[in-house]
């Protein structure tokens, strides 16, 4: 409404009130100190105004207690805010156990979303009210950022890795989704919306749309299509084919487990690990196995990768979010994008 002058965004997620509380507290502190300094300056300005041309001020020794006081008090306030802010931050990035994983891929200049049951959306994301949702984000090209002001959450989508943030919508409605990391030409038009529906309506919406296949099912199909089972066994079991010795490690129970690599390192088999192993298998060869896995670079799109990852996750009995550490699973910076990325045109140097 044009007559309405908004001063604060809507509060539509479980974490929004906490962020707002922290913000109001800081605003109060800022206004207090700014006003204090302003009042003191104005008062001193008037009270000690120069009365004649040669007048000088009265030098005084700075009492130590005063210097200490106005160092320590601001420090304590700042540290208190820091502690509170860290607590809220941890809330924002540690998803609860019941969070459902959605995938988001940023691309110049649109968002592509995949629901766990396979529904795909572009720029608009429908979510059910009250459900904790973990957004796993990546990018196909440059760095983007997934930002929903009403939820008070934001996370950069970085190419070559997954990052995540979670939210639980608390109010039905349509909310702005912005890209918050400058990404070139149409950055300001990489706008979408998050549509929060009552659970009932959400089911209806799901049913109404083109029937999507759950990610894990798509992943299972892909697993067969790409003949992964010839080395990893049916269902990723690791059993050898046709009586031969197994040629690749089992994928059952692999997800989020620690893996010993041939070069002596130990890594956790998270989303990024699985993605890298598909695109660049020589990067991390499991100890005790031959480096014979071919690369699937150029043969799988980013969406197909998320489907395969979902499938591998399901082999560990995990369909939802992993506990702990919702921020980016770094450690793999390699691998090419699945989709042939748009090549930058002839560039003036």
């Amino acid at each position: 409404m044009k007559s309405q002058l908004p001063l604060f965004p809507e509060s539509a997620s479980s974490v929004a009130p906490q962020v707002d509380a922290l913000f109001y507290a800081w605003t109060a502190v800022s206004i207090f100190f700014t006003a204090l300094i302003a009042v003191l300056i104005i008062y001193f300005m008037a009270r000690y105004r120069r009365r004649h041309e040669d007048e000088v001020g009265l030098p005084e020794r700075a009492p130590v207690w005063l210097e200490i006081a106005w160092s320590v008090i601001p420090l304590l306030i700042a540290l208190a805010m820091f502690a509170w802010g860290t607590q809220v931050f941890v809330q924002i990035y540690r998803p609860p156990a019941d969070a459902v994983v959605y995938y988001g891929v940023g691309k110049q200049w649109m968002w592509k979303f995949q629901h766990p049951d396979g529904q795909r959306e572009i720029n608009t994301l429908h979510v059910p009210l009250g459900q904790a949702i973990q957004m796993k984000l990546t990018s196909e090209d440059v760095i983007h950022s997934f930002f929903v002001p009403a939820f008070r959450v934001k996370q950069d989508a970085v190419p070559g890795r997954y990052s995540s943030v979670w939210f639980r919508a608390t109010r039905p409605g349509v909310y702005h989704l912005f890209c918050a990391e400058y990404c070139g030409g149409e950055h300001s038009r990489m706008i979408g919306s998050v549509v929060v529906l009552e659970p009932q309506q959400y089911e209806e919406w799901l049913a109404g749309g083109p029937a999507g296949q759950p990610l894990t099912a798509s992943g299972a199909e892909l697993f067969q299509q790409l003949t992964c089972q010839t080395c990893h066994g049916e269902g990723g079991s690791g059993a050898g084919m046709a009586g031969m010795a197994p040629r690749a490690p089992s994928l059952v129970g692999l997800y989020n487990r620690q893996v010993a690599l041939a070069d002596g390192r130990k890594v956790v088999a998270d989303d990024s690990y699985i993605r890298e192993s598909i695109l660049n298998p020589m990067a991390k060869v499991t100890a005790g196995w031959q480096p014979i896995m071919p690369t699937f670079q150029g043969q799988v799109t980013e969406e197909q990768l998320t489907q395969l990852i979902s499938y591998v996750k399901s082999l560990s009995g995990e369909g939802g979010a992993e506990a702990g550490g919702g921020t980016a699973e770094v450690g793999t910076a390699g691998g090419q994008m699945g989709t042939p990325a748009p090549q930058a045109g002839p560039q003036p140097q």
Binding site: R50, G57, V142
Partner: protein
């Protein structure tokens, strides 16, 4: 009549127009300026260059605010807008904010304030200006040929592999200009260490010197890192290497770490010299020693040191670990404290002072208020839980403009107004200068305060078009910008006017204490006729000396 406190100065009689020998009239001709080794002339050369770049950056700012008057993008194409805000940032950060105070006021005053004849390396100083100009030419060439659209932050892989603009030329321009800053910093450090006049111990140095010393430390340690980072970006772009592009095996976030490792300390390069100016102004216009001199001096060093440990607070939402984020957040809180202490100390200096509200003081007081709010909003966004929401929104834009414009530029203008009579021997119209200070203050707040609100509402930065509900505050902001623009243009006009028509100034128009006021306005080429011997600390005000200084009617400023 002898207005100067030093003996043997040649008397000027304004009525006859006989000018004393000074650095301005020592030699004439373009060659004498372009080949000068006199730090004062080099300061004037920088003044001209820096002002030109400021005008250019301001022009881009005007275009930004014009476009943002309406929610739709209707003034220019989005690609053009992206180039406009990038050029605004690159020019303002690298060609104005970083060099302005050190290269203009620092170059002019550092030797004089410590009682030396010149900086340690005068030829290096001149080379600094030429290097700055060369870097500027690269960037201007890029601008004229279509500009660059990566944002002044050059984030990868957009800058290395996707942008179709003149990234390499701009990056090289900034790279080259970095050496200009490095050489200036190097000059200051050696000069302050080795060329102080007899009796000028460290704790008798003016706070302006302390802050320039701290700034120079940051310059020496930080600038090389941005230099190599930009070189890597250029190399990656030209040779398709894989340092930062994940498609080629690189890590885009590594770029951010390298970039911010310099660019955070860089903001302290921008603010510390300004704080040094404010210390001088508050002391001079309260005719009183700065409250807690040693604390303020050490606070500058503390800011320089801690400033190197907080760069990750620009990257809270890139996906670094919660642990790392925590460390950067808490140290960011720590770095705020020395700045807060300075604000309190300056305010306390006014207590029982003899406060005069001449133009430089208006800027100083404006600085204290605006920097307080800017600094506090900085601690707000250093708070993890809030930064998730506020990062990359207009709140950040407002925050950094409060500290860089409300902070650095106010200090720069205040310093220019304070030392203008010393540098040029001329006075400027008091009414107009006070009016400008007021316009700058009001215009600035009107421009940037609404942006805090916009940021919390969720308006992202670097947006060419935006949702309708953000329009009202954008209009307020653009309106403020026009007022601010007038406030900036006025000094340009009356300063230039004063060079020819301004009243001549006495040696100490403000009745201030400091070695620079013990020498004529403008100073002779060798700065002093006799080398000063320092016997007391800075800011020692007593009535008789002030009386002697200001008794001549010429000396006083309205």
């Amino acid at each position: 009549m002898n207005t100067s406190a030093t003996a043997e100065s040649i008397v000027a009689s304004p009525e006859t127009g006989f000018e004393r020998p000074n650095y301005l009239n020592a030699e004439y001709g373009l060659r004498s300026w372009l080949l000068t080794r006199d730090h004062k002339r080099i300061a004037i050369l920088y003044l001209i260059s820096v002002s030109a770049f400021f005008a250019l950056g301001g022009l881009f700012a005007m275009l930004i605010r014009l476009e943002l008057l309406t929610p739709e993008g209707d003034l220019m194409q989005p690609d053009t807008y992206n180039r406009v805000f990038t050029m605004h940032g690159v020019i303002m950060v690298f060609f104005f904010l970083i060099p302005a105070i050190p290269a203009v006021l620092g170059n002019f005053l550092v030797p004089i304030m410590i009682g030396a004849r010149d900086l340690a390396f005068p030829r290096l100083n001149l080379a600094s200006w030429y290097i700055y100009t060369l870097g500027g030419l690269f960037v201007l060439w890029a601008m004229v040929n279509g500009g660059v659209d990566t944002g002044w932050t050059f984030y990868t892989p957009y800058s290395t592999s996707f942008s179709n603009t003149h990234v390499v030329a701009t990056a090289l321009g900034v790279f080259i200009t970095g050496f200009s800053t490095i050489f200036t910093g190097l000059n200051f450090v050696v000069t302050i260490h080795r060329m102080r006049a007899p009796g000028m111990t460290w704790f008798r140095l003016p706070l302006f010197i302390w802050s320039h010393y701290a700034t120079s430390l940051i310059i020496l340690l930080g600038t090389p890192v941005i230099a190599i980072t930009l070189l890597l970006v250029a190399a990656e772009r030209v040779l398709h290497l894989g340092i930062f592009d994940p498609r080629l095996g690189g890590d885009p976030v590594l770029f951010q770490h390298l970039f911010w490792f310099y660019s955070h300390p860089a903001v302290y390069i921008m603010i510390l010299p300004s704080m040094g100016v404010i210390s001088e102004l508050v002391a001079a216009f309260s005719r009183k020693r700065v409250f807690g001199y040693k604390v303020v001096a050490f606070a500058s060093i503390a800011i320089a040191v801690l400033g190197f440990l907080v760069w990750g607070h620009h990257m809270f939402v890139t996906g670094q670990s919660i642990y790392a984020a925590t460390v950067f957040s808490v140290i960011s809180m720590l770095v705020a404290i020395p700045s807060a202490v300075k604000v309190f100390n300056w305010t306390a200096t006014l207590y029982e002072g003899s406060v005069s509200l001449q133009t430089p003081m208006l800027y100083a007081l404006g600085f204290i208020g605006l920097f307080t709010l800017g600094g506090l909003t900085g601690t707000m966004v250093a708070t993890l839980g809030i930064d998730v929401h506020l990062h990359d929104t207009y709140f950040i834009v407002a925050h950094f403009h409060y500290v860089m414009v409300g902070g650095t530029i106010m200090g720069y203008l205040g310093g220019l107004h304070y030392w203008w009579p010393k540098m040029t021997g001329r006075l400027y119209p008091a009414f107009l200068s006070r009016l400008s200070a007021l316009l700058v203050f009001v215009g600035f707040n009107l421009t940037f305060f609404p942006q805090f609100i916009l940021g919390y509402l969720g308006m992202p930065r670097r947006y060419w078009s935006y949702p309708e509900e953000f329009q009202v505050f954008n209009v307020l902001s653009s309106a403020g910008a026009s007022v601010l623009g007038v406030g900036f243009i006025l000094p340009l006009c009356y300063f230039i006017w004063s060079m020819r028509y301004g009243k001549r100034s006495g040696d100490n128009p403000w009745g201030a204490v400091g070695l620079e006021w013990d020498t004529p306005s403008p100073p002779p080429t060798e700065n002093f006729y006799t080398v000063p011997v320092v016997t007391h600390g800075p800011y020692e005000y007593n009535t008789q000396e002030v009386h002697a200084r200001t008794s001549h009617p010429e000396a006083r400023v309205g």
